[in-house]
Symmetry: C2
């Protein structure tokens, strides 16, 4: 079983409108609401490829109640007094506009309870995946704590985070999976190889860098492995990174070789591009891509 | 007691952001959520001036539960299976951008139950105020039905609506309070006087037109009465129309002369401009304006 941890789940709202009129009133033609947050998307992709999965997340307020009712993967919720956030994506005539709420304030006591619940869920897990932003005011050290709790249970941790949380994950010895922009921003490195080397020096067990059309690169103590992107895949890149994380996770949890994990990540990421909604993948395309067939 | 009917209540969400970046991701710095919908704003202003008030509204889903928990005026809720809407206002560096959801689909059976609950609430009411849009797919004839139900209970109805709902209210003999743009749009009249005459011909008992800086005009069978706007009032015009409706309602419900009702409307509307949030009024300023003092 793969355990996914989503520190800052969200109600992902998409507003379909006509021509976008900033500074004016826009009539919403269609509303879609679905559970979101990167860890939730990873869990949904894992469920789609029939990998055993459990999600762990803090839920609070009416938004938390809604998320608990709508989430379609097995999950453990830790109650919080704050209200979970909403992200609004406005899809009009141009590039989508996103409004991202910062998320609830979670107390130290609530994070302690969260860590205890994590320890409770870990027996039986083959891998812990920590994915997405931390709520407002939360310490990046939480990511180190979770990685350590997992190690004490004999479970490896794969972290998809940015900024200080990415650095904290590296320091705690996690496997980390930033995209190239996150890697460069967090390390202030001049290029990808230098950034990956910096994370390895901090203590990261492995640095997997998703690079869009340039494929996926994995930097470890033994050097770098690169798999190319699936060529000629066009669609919606939203959620492709989460699907790639799911691909990495499913192969690593099964003890497959690194190069196979990277190929699985590339195939699942490309299969997600073919679907309009984050957390969904085109399964027949995924199987074709895994077998080396083109798009 | 004044009974306010809100056919399409909303969670009014305001996102404060920095510079607005359409087509990109905007970090929300501050989130405010409050119960909204024009009838809810009217009820809150009535409560603020200590007029006895009761709100009647359809509530459904998690949003409805939230509205019921947060509403700070006495209310009767009719349960619906759909989910109440949200409106998102983005306040950045320019003019605010609004995204308005269409609202839930309410079944015929639910509207019938709504009418029954209205009949149940009317005894003891001095006036019914119907304010705001109808949810998606709802027939404008509902406004006629509510006006008729009120008349059968011996209660007059004041309707602040637009389009076909405004015409239906006029046909049913309600007092109507469009703003000038709504009046011209609904009647396709060349000017305000012609538009008001058209509504009176349809059957409206009184046509009160709010005209911003040009004050308020009331057209009846006996001619037109006009009160000027309170001069030199600067602030946020959002909700000023709802406050003016509340002012009209409180004077009409107390059986005050029309000219006094118009002056009360102008004073409350101006007092709302001085507050940043719809449904709130500057009470000391309201009393000054009523006494003829300048801003």
């Amino acid at each position: 079983m793969i355990l996914t941890l989503t520190p800052n789940p969200a109600i992902d709202v998409t507003y379909r409108i006509g021509a976008h009129a900033p500074g004016d009133t826009n009539r919403v033609l269609e509303v879609q609401r679905r559970p979101g947050g990167k860890g939730v998307n990873v869990a949904r992709v894992l469920a789609a490829v029939e990998a055993p999965v459990q999600a762990l997340l803090p839920l609070g307020g009416e938004a938390g109640r809604w998320l608990g009712a709508e989430l379609d993967v097995p999950f453990e919720a830790v109650p919080i007094s704050g209200e979970n956030r909403t992200t609004v994506t406005v899809a009009g005539d141009g590039h989508p506009t996103v409004y991202a709420e910062p998320g609830p304030e979670v107390s130290e006591e609530e994070w302690t309870a969260f860590g205890s619940r994590l320890a409770h869920c870990l027996p039986g897990a083959d891998l812990l995946v920590v994915s997405g932003s931390l709520p407002r005011g939360a310490s990046p050290d939480l990511v180190s704590d979770w990685t350590r709790i997992a190690r004490e249970a004999g479970v490896r941790t794969l972290v998809d985070a940015s900024g200080l949380a990415l650095l904290a994950a590296a320091r705690a010895g996690a496997l980390v999976k930033p995209n190239r922009a996150e890697l460069l921003a967090a390390t202030s490195a001049a290029d990808e190889a230098a950034g990956a080397a910096a994370l390895l020096r901090l203590g990261a067990q492995l640095v997997v860098v998703s690079r869009g059309a340039d494929g996926i690169a994995a930097y470890g103590q033994g050097g770098v492995r690169i798999v190319p992107a699936i060529p000629d895949v066009h669609g919606n890149p939203t959620g492709a990174g989460d699907a790639a994380t799911a691909g990495l996770a499913v192969a690593l949890a099964a003890g497959r070789p690194l190069i196979e994990a990277l190929r699985t990540a590339a195939a699942l990421g490309a299969a997600a591009v073919l679907r309009p909604v984050a957390g969904e993948v085109d399964l027949p395309a995924y199987r074709r891509f895994l077998n080396g067939a083109p798009a």
